[in-house]
Each structure stands twice: as C-alpha cells, then as structure tokens.
C-alpha cells in the first residue's frame, strides 16, 4: 500500500476523512493533504517522502482533542520497517463554532 492508502486505512474507523476539501459541514471530520517527492538510485525510485497535513475539526475542543489524539496514535501505528513517521508540527485553532487541530507529518516509505 502506498502512503495515502495506509493513512486512509488507519483512520477509517476513527473519523470521517476527506482529501483536500471537506465534503461536509458537520463536525467532527478530518481533512488531509499530501505532497510527494521521490528519491532515486541509479536503478530507479527507492523511496517516497510525503509531507502530510491532517486537520481534525471538532464541535468543541474536547472532541477535537480526543479525535486528534486517536489520529496521532493511528498514524504512529503505520510506522513499519519500510515506513517512518515523524511529527513535524502541531497547531490548534478555533473557527466560529469549531476547533481545528492540525498535525503535519513527514512520512518516508521505502519501495
């Protein structure tokens, strides 16, 4: 599985997940985005590095915080011998009646 598939699989039972743009206004939900870069040996690609941002949106701070911690744990759980996960940054913000907790990861997958 590629990095995106691993993320969506890991978060399936935790929160409604959307790529890039939320297709709902009803919290809680999460939105993720990925930017890939490729590294090559002389034979071809050997790893992908993904810059991944996951934003969890909750109706209140407690809900967003609880779901965000579950998401963090699940993302940490996709770590494997061929895949590393590093939490790069964490931010929390409130918008109108919603709380947004955003984590940015660097995920490296050897292929």
């Amino acid at each position: 599985m590629n990095i995106a598939e691993r993320i969506t699989t890991a978060l399936t039972d935790i929160v409604d997940l959307y790529y890039s743009v939320a297709e709902t206004d009803v919290a809680p939900y999460a939105v993720y985005s990925l930017e890939y870069s490729e590294s090559r040996t002389k034979e071809g690609p050997y790893k992908y590095t993904a810059d991944v941002v996951i934003a969890v949106v909750g109706n209140n701070y407690a809900q967003a915080d609880r779901l965000s911690k579950q998401v963090m744990s699940a993302i940490d759980g996709i770590r494997n011998t061929d895949l590393s996960v590093r939490l790069e940054s964490h931010s929390e913000d409130s918008e109108k009646d919603a709380w947004v907790i955003q984590n940015r990861y660097i995920i490296i997958q050897l292929i």
């Binding site: 040996t41 002389k42 050997y46 590393s84 590093r86 050897l110």
Partner: protein, 137 residues
C-alpha cells in the same frame, strides 16, 4: 556537437555484478609523479609521470537482494562479504556510449551509516591494484 551523459548511465561492476541501490559513483585518476633535480637543472625540478593510481567510490542505499539475483547483483551483505574476504577484485567501469575501463582493485574502505529516520546507506572505496585498461568498444 557534443552529448552530455546522465549519471545513471554510469555503473561500476565488481566481477559481473552491479551494486544495488547505487546513488553515486566517483572515479579518480591520480598520476604518480617522480621528481628529479641535477646541477644542470639549475634549481628547477624535473617531473615525470611514471604511472597512474586510480580509485573508485560508490555511495548506495543498503539493500537486501533476493536469492535469485545473487548471480548478478551485490547487496549490502554481499559487499561486506567482499570486504571481509580481503582479496583483490576485478572491476568494470562502464558509461553508456563512452569508453569503459577494467582492472583490479582492492577494497580500501567500507562505511555504513544509519540514523533514526532515513534509509541505511553505505560507501565503498576501491584503490588501484593494476593498470587501468580501456575496454575495446
């Protein structure tokens, strides 16, 4: 008109095997110079190239190869085995569309690096143990 050559067209083979995961190669030739001075030279040394030393280095991502590839490829374990064998190795240095070279070399160093996040890498250095012989095109 001239044509550039992209780096992936260059390969160092040890025996008939390529080093899997190679990210860069370097090839250096260093002339061995003999200096002499006599009174007739009036203080200016004379220099003469008497031979050439050469060396290769390979940087690679450490890879484990399948049993089926052992005849044609060198992974991390096979490279270390070569180092420990202490024997000189035959090499072929190839560049697509250009002249290749072959000869014998000793493995002068092996260095492996690993950190907490990225892939394991290694560097291998080989020093000359023969003349550098062009391969007939």
């Amino acid at each position: 008109m001239s044509t550039g050559i992209l780096g992936y067209n260059v390969a160092l083979k040890i025996g008939e095997k390529t080093i899997v995961g190679t990210t860069s190669n370097s090839f250096d030739i260093k002339p061995v110079v003999k200096e002499s001075i006599t009174k007739d030279d009036r203080g200016t040394k004379k220099k003469k190239v008497v031979s050439n030393d050469f060396s290769f280095s390979v940087d690679a991502v450490a890879s484990l190869i399948d049993a089926g590839d052992v005849a044609t490829k060198l992974g991390r374990d096979e490279v270390i085995a070569l180092v420990l064998a202490k024997a000189a190795v035959d090499f072929t240095y190839l560049m697509d569309g250009a002249k290749g070279y072959q000869g014998s070399a000793i493995i002068s160093s092996y260095s492996e690096k690993s950190d907490s996040e990225n892939e394991v890498t290694f560097s291998l250095n080989l020093d000359s143990n023969s003349e550098l012989t062009p391969i007939a095109e």
